[in-house]
């Protein structure tokens, strides 16, 4: 056992270039599997979070908003912007049949503030009726939002107790949301009274244009859940036919574009992982075959010195497992070192909802990626190990074969 281990270790140390190439190959395999799996999982988690974040069956907005190119970006990706309809129009929508729960929201885009050198989206909601934002806020804040209290998204550089200034109005950060992987992460939430105060202040500064709408009697969107016996499609169709100047959009329709892009990216990444895995395994197989062919005399000498066929196979397999083990740990570690700190840059680049799995899940993926790479190395070496057991030592040493 001791002799077999020392032969294996000496073989690994004695051929540094071959060992380095095999380590690099398995590191590449392991890094590809780890990074690919984490990216695909994060995208799926981001989409699930987005579905939960929309939280309503139907969203009703002024018709003019839907003609803006950035409308979907505003709702789904956190681009700042605003649009308004008067409360009388909103009431007409709420008077329609089949409306279950409903809540209003007011959007306001800021200029710079203490937490951000760039604009942020402020979302005013009614805590009495809200059913989409409150569940998220309750995860990090148990109390009630007072006047000039705000809840900030996880990606904003502001913390509980901080004072921020929007349009000259000082507000207090009452809570910070957990990471959602959606546009909520870059938004600021507050109640209606505070957002109306901010709107008033912005108008005094001449920074917002409400045209002919009274800012105190305006809302940006209505979020509606269908009553029992009605479907989201029926409600949306009914509103679109009977209420002018508004557009009702089903939440499912809104995220279908994101969902399609996401499945496209996920399929591509999965395909790449599979390709790298197959290619890596084939290259490892070739590398082991060439290496074993070069060492036929060495194995023949070991065989005539009394080593059993199983012993020869175990030397080959041990070498493969040790080398691919080292490579897989390095690869998964490097993958984590690149992917985790740069996850926001990746999120910005992909432009899709992206929510990293928990630390425990990531640790599990690292182990799984390392295991997959070791398995690939073992599979590739198994064929060579089998050939070594079939070796005819006499023929090899005579040089006939």
């Amino acid at each position: 056992m001791k002799l077999s281990r020392s032969i294996t270790l000496n073989n690994i140390k004695g051929r540094p270039v071959r060992t380095l190439v095999l380590v690099l190959l398995t590191a590449l395999l392991s890094a590809a599997v780890f990074c690919g799996t984490v990216i695909v999982t994060s995208l799926h988690k981001g989409l699930r979070s987005l579905e939960a974040r929309l939280g309503a069956d139907v969203m009703v907005v002024p018709y003019s908003a839907t003609t803006q190119q950035s409308f979907e970006d505003l709702v789904l990706q956190g681009t700042t912007g605003y649009f308004y309809m008067d409360t009388a129009t909103a009431q007409k929508v709420l008077d329609r049949e089949g409306i279950g729960e409903s809540s209003q929201q007011v959007f306001l885009a800021t200029t710079s503030s203490g937490c951000c050198s760039l604009p942020v989206q402020i979302i005013g909601f009614d805590p009495e009726t809200d059913f989409t934002i409150s569940p998220w806020i309750k995860k990090s804040f148990g109390g009630e939002l007072g006047f000039c209290d705000v809840v900030v998204g996880n990606d904003l550089n502001a913390f509980v107790g901080d004072k921020l200034k929007f349009y000259g109005v000082e507000v207090r950060v009452a809570a910070k949301l957990e990471k959602t992987g959606t546009s909520y992460d870059t938004a600021v939430f507050t109640n209606f009274d505070t957002v109306r105060e901010l709107i008033r202040s912005s108008m005094e500064l001449g920074l917002n244009n409400f045209k002919d709408i009274d800012p105190d009697r305006s809302v940006s969107c209505l979020l509606i859940n269908a009553a029992d016996g009605y479907t989201a499609e029926e409600i949306a169709d009914d509103i679109n036919i009977h209420v002018k100047k508004v557009k009702a959009i089903r939440a499912q329709d809104m995220i279908s574009g994101v969902s399609k892009s996401l499945s496209g990216v996920a399929d591509t990444v999965s395909g790449l992982i599979a390709a790298v895995w197959v290619l890596g395994t084939v290259i490892l197989l070739l590398a082991f075959t060439i290496s074993i062919n070069e060492r036929r005399r060495e194995f023949a000498v070991m065989r005539v010195s009394g080593a059993s066929r199983m012993k020869l196979a175990s030397v080959v397999m041990c070498e493969a497992v040790i080398v691919s083990g080292i490579g897989s740990v390095i690869g998964a570690g490097l993958g984590a070192l690149v992917l985790l700190p740069f996850s926001r840059a990746i999120e910005n680049m992909i432009g899709l909802p992206f929510l990293l799995p928990s630390a425990g899940a990531i640790a599990l993926y690292i182990l799984a990626a390392a295991a997959v790479a070791v398995l690939a190395g073992a599979i590739a070496a198994a064929a060579s190990a089998f050939r070594v057991t079939r070796l005819d030592a006499g023929l090899v040493l005579r040089g006939d074969n």
């Binding site: 951000c116 050198s117 760039l118 990606d155 550089n157 870059t186 740069f342 926001r344 999120e347």
Partner: protein
Amino acid sequence: MKKRTTKTLVCDIILFALCDFYCAGSKLLFHGCRSRMMNGSWMNCHWAEQAVFAFGIVLAVLGLALLVLNDPGIKRGIALSMIPAAVVPAFIPNVLIEIGCGKNMRCQAVMRPAVIVLGAVIAAAAAAYLMINRKRTDKEQ
């Protein structure tokens, strides 16, 4: 004068390359946000980038000295001084200079993690250099 071994030469080249990459990258690859505030002044991340670049220049000079000089004692001293020079800039964005942007901004998403990761890699490489060099000196003694 003692002749440099291949192992030491490889270590010198790796550290030199890492330091140069850090220096050039802080201006070309993982720089901060390039836009100015509405009043025309630079955002804080610009000044954080400048500070990181200054440390990058120090690291590049140290890397060059490590490559050129041959005395093992001086080389060990240079490798040792690389560790704080690589670790301190990791605290520049957001700790020493508050960059104060949304976390999706380039300075938070690219510059900060790059400075931390590369700093850690250079510090680890310098520490490894010291270990390798110490072993060699022990053998010589």
